[in-house]
Every structure is written in structure tokens, then in C-alpha cells.
């Protein structure tokens, strides 16, 4: 089970209390985790990554295992601790703006 921590505003949108827990088939990557997140919570489509380009929105960051993975290509496998559920994949709103 993949654990995803969302910022408060996205938890509110998704009516989610706490972490999202997702089943991901195949390699655990940014893309496969976000695909699973958006399939389970369709109201989040467009909020983390662009509808068309599928690129991360500029003020959204991806952290895991105390590393900033925001600039990793979307198909690179995430750390084993994320794939095993030991650590969460964190979607973070950047510290910027009001």
C-alpha cells in the first residue's frame, strides 16, 4: 500500500482525513502514484499536475525520505521505503505567496 500525504487544501477537496492509501500496480513512480491518486480522487485532477502536459504545477513539490524529488523524471522509481509503504510520498505546497 502506497501512502500519500497531501496538503490540507487538497485533503479538504478530496474529503480525506489523514493519508491517502493507494494500491499501485507495477513500478511505483511519481506517475503511477499520481495516476492512482487521481483515479481514486478525481476531484484532484489538475491540482497537482497539469491536465494536458501532466507536468507538476510550479508551486507543488514532491518529497519522500527527506529528499526533494520534485525534479526527478516522472517514470523514475520512487525509493523502496515509499514502494513498501514504510515512508509516505509527500505532496507539498511550496512556501510561496499568500
Amino acid at each position: 500500500m502506497i501512502r500519500v500525504v497531501l496538503p490540507a487544501h487538497l485533503r479538504t477537496l478530496a474529503h480525506l482525513d489523514g493519508e491517502a492509501q493507494l494500491q499501485v500496480e507495477g513500478p511505483v513512480t511519481q506517475r503511477s502514484v499520481l495516476d492512482a491518486l487521481e483515479a481514486r480522487y478525481p476531484m484532484l485532477r489538475g491540482t497537482v499536475r497539469d491536465h494536458v502536459t501532466q507536468r507538476r504545477r510550479p508551486f507543488v513539490r514532491f518529497f519522500a525520505c527527506e529528499e526533494d524529488l520534485s525534479h526527478e523524471p516522472p517514470d523514475v522509481p520512487l525509493p523502496d521505503q515509499v514502494a513498501t509503504g514504510a515512508e509516505p510520498f509527500m505532496v507539498v505546497g511550496a512556501i510561496a505567496g499568500g
Binding site: 496538503p7 487544501h9 477537496l13 476531484m43 491540482t47 491536465h51 504545477r57 507543488v60 499568500g98
Partner: protein, 371 residues
């Protein structure tokens, strides 16, 4: 007994203010979508409990929310606004060409006849429409593809389509306004568009009477008198008596003809309201006095309405979508400020009182008169 519902969009959420027809005691609901910018929310004229809200954030982009119970509960609907075909480019601040990029929805205009049909004015400027209650949105790209499109350039607030006026007498006619391109009209339901800016004079562009390039701030039309339009431009209050084919200035004795909001009395189509703002670089009322100006003559002759409004040390702004009227017998007039106040008049503007004083900066005010 009739009721009034005031829909307020702010920098940090939406608020719903309700009262009975006396409009003395108000119930405040909100913030809805706390922390998000709510540029605009508006109800369907044919199903007043059907509301649509534009919710956006610099972090998480655009959401559209829909309520089917007058704002008690909300549902996220479609938020995919994709330009039709190759988006192309428009003029950027430095004169170079810049790709059309969707940023946010500024204005939602529900259809006059179908609660599932809504028009959305967006930044970068384009007009979208849903016919399925907001689940999917399609661009009416004839507007953006007008031959003048590559010459459109953003105003200080972005290249935004902020005004949509529907005409009940001619369902295929729509008016829009874009900062800083000007006003446009379609007579074929959005297929083709023509600029309607003849008579506008803007000293802030190289050719003051150019066909496009004017920073139109807002346009209002009374439903009983289609074709008569009132416009608050960047500078100048304007009037057209022929659906925008030609405009003439009606600023008259206003202390400043800069401003954003303009609206029309519900029962008197020649009674119009503006809130003069000092200048384009000083977005506050002249002399620190918050005054609504009313013309009962369709422009040119204006009177200051001050009773109940702060007449010293007031430096708020009133934005383009932040004024509205109800349709009770004694017409109510409402406006919101960037200081977070929403003022109401129950007598056509003669006297004013705040409904709320301390909201986040108000971006939009709409009013529903309920049976």
C-alpha cells in the same frame, strides 16, 4: 415573503449572506473553500439554488464548484479548461508574442434559460461554455481567434475576460469585455465576434481610438432595454444605445471617471451606479471618501451617495464584479470592498449600511432575489 441571498467571493473564500425582504438582519455563512481565491460565484436565473463558483489558488490551480441547494453543500465539477486547437500567441507586456496560457476563471455567467449551461470568462482571455452543469467545458474559440487576437495584451491584472452579458431578447447575442483588448459582441451564439469599441478614447494606447486595445473594466445592461449598454472603462464612463456599435462618454460631473464597478437599478433602466476611484495608480476613492455616484438620467448628471458610507480616511477599492442589485420593489444595491466590507442599500442608494465589515478582500458580489 421574499428573501435575498448575497454571494460574496473573496481572496480567501466565499460567503453567503441571507436576509428576508426587510434586509435588516443578515445571516452569514462561510467561509466556503477557506483559503482559496473565489473570483466569482453566481446562481442560475432559472434554478436559484443552482450556484457555480470559481475557486482558484496559485498552488493548486482552478476548481469549479457547484451547489444544488443554494450554497449549503458543494460539489467539485470539471476544471479542465483547454484552449481549442493550437492556442497561439498574444502580445506580452514587453511587446513580444507570448503563448496563450490558462490561469483562472474570472467570471461565471449562468444561462438565462438552462441551469446546466454556464459561460466562463478566463485568463488568458477566452470564453468557455459548459452544457452539462460544469462537468466539461468547451471553448467558444471564435472570440480568441478573432484576427485581432495576437494584438491583445494583458492589463495589470492579466489578460482576462471578465465580463459576460447575455441578452434575453436575442439569445444568440453575447457581449464580453477583455482587459486590455476591449468589448466584443457575437450575434451567432459565439461563432463569430466583432469588436465594439467605436467611440472609446484611451490615452494609454498608441492610437487612442483603435479598434481594439482598450482596457474596458465592466459593462452592464438592463434586461428590459437590450442594446443600451453602460461601461466603466479604465478611465471614462461610457454609454451605447446601439448594442455597442458606437459609444459616447457620460462621465459628466463625476469627481473621477476612473473605476471598476458599474450597475443598473433593477426597475429604472436609466438609473446607474458607479464608484469613482482616484486613478489607475491610486486605487482608492478620491479624498478618502467612499461615495457611490448615481445618475438617474442614464449618465452625465451624477449625485454622490454618502449616507452610511465612510467619509474620511477610507482607502479601499471596489472591484469590477463587486456590485450588484436585487429586484425587490425597493431596489437593493450592494457592493464589496477590498477592505472586506459589504455595504447594502435598501432604497436604491439613498442610505447604506454594512452587512459585514471584516471579510477578506472582496472580489465579487452577486445578489439573488428569492421567492
Amino acid at each position: 415573503m421574499s428573501r435575498v441571498r448575497v454571494l460574496v467571493g473573496t481572496r480567501k473564500g466565499a460567503f453567503v449572506l441571507t436576509a428576508d425582504a426587510k434586509r435588516e438582519r443578515w445571516e452569514v455563512s462561510g467561509p466556503h473553500f477557506a483559503g482559496w481565491e473565489i473570483y466569482h460565484l453566481k446562481g442560475s436565473p432559472v434554478d436559484p439554488d443552482r450556484l457555480y463558483a470559481s475557486q482558484s489558488s496559485g498552488w493548486f490551480g482552478q476548481m469549479i464548484q457547484r451547489s444544488d441547494d443554494g450554497g449549503k453543500t458543494w460539489e467539485s465539477v470539471g476544471n479542465e479548461f483547454v484552449y481549442d486547437g493550437v492556442a497561439g500567441t498574444h502580445q506580452w507586456y514587453d511587446g513580444t508574442q507570448h503563448p496563450w496560457e490558462f490561469a483562472r476563471v474570472w467570471h461565471l455567467e449562468p444561462s438565462l434559460t438552462d441551469p446546466d449551461t454556464v459561460y466562463a470568462g478566463v485568463e488568458d482571455a477566452a470564453l468557455f461554455r459548459t452544457v452539462d452543469g460544469g462537468r466539461t467545458w468547451q471553448e467558444l474559440s471564435g472570440l480568441r481567434r478573432h484576427t485581432s487576437g495576437p494584438s491583445w495584451q494583458p492589463g495589470a491584472g492579466g489578460l482576462c475576460l471578465h465580463t459576460i452579458v447575455l441578452d434575453a431578447s436575442q439569445p444568440e447575442r453575447i457581449f464580453t469585455a477583455i482587459s486590455a483588448a476591449g468589448a466584443f459582441r457575437t450575434d451567432d451564439a459565439g461563432g463569430t465576434w466583432q469588436p465594439i469599441n467605436r467611440g472609446l478614447q484611451s490615452q494609454t494606447i498608441p492610437d487612442p481610438d483603435a479598434e481594439v486595445g482598450h482596457c474596458v473594466h465592466h459593462v452592464a445592461m438592463h434586461p428590459s432595454r437590450p442594446g443600451v449598454l453602460f461601461m466603466q472603462k479604465h478611465w471614462d464612463v461610457m454609454r451605447s444605445d446601439d448594442a455597442g456599435n458606437a459609444w459616447h462618454e457620460v462621465s459628466g460631473n463625476l469627481p473621477s471617471d476612473f473605476g471598476f464597478a458599474i450597475d443598473i437599478h433593477a426597475h429604472e433602466p436609466d438609473t446607474i451606479y458607479v464608484v469613482p476611484i482616484k486613478s489607475d495608480s491610486e486605487h482608492f476613492p478620491p479624498d478618502g471618501k467612499l461615495r457611490v455616484y448615481r445618475s438617474r438620467t442614464g449618465g452625465n448628471e451624477w449625485e454622490a451617495l454618502t449616507e452610511g458610507l465612510p467619509q474620511s480616511d477610507c482607502y479601499v477599492n471596489v472591484l469590477r464584479d463587486a456590485m450588484a442589485v436585487d429586484s425587490l420593489d425597493s431596489c437593493g444595491v450592494y457592493f464589496g470592498t477590498t477592505g472586506g466590507q459589504v455595504y447594502a442599500s435598501t432604497n436604491g442608494g439613498d442610505t447604506w449600511a454594512p452587512i459585514v465589515r471584516d471579510l477578506p478582500a472582496v472580489l465579487s458580489v452577486e445578489v439573488q432575489t428569492l421567492p
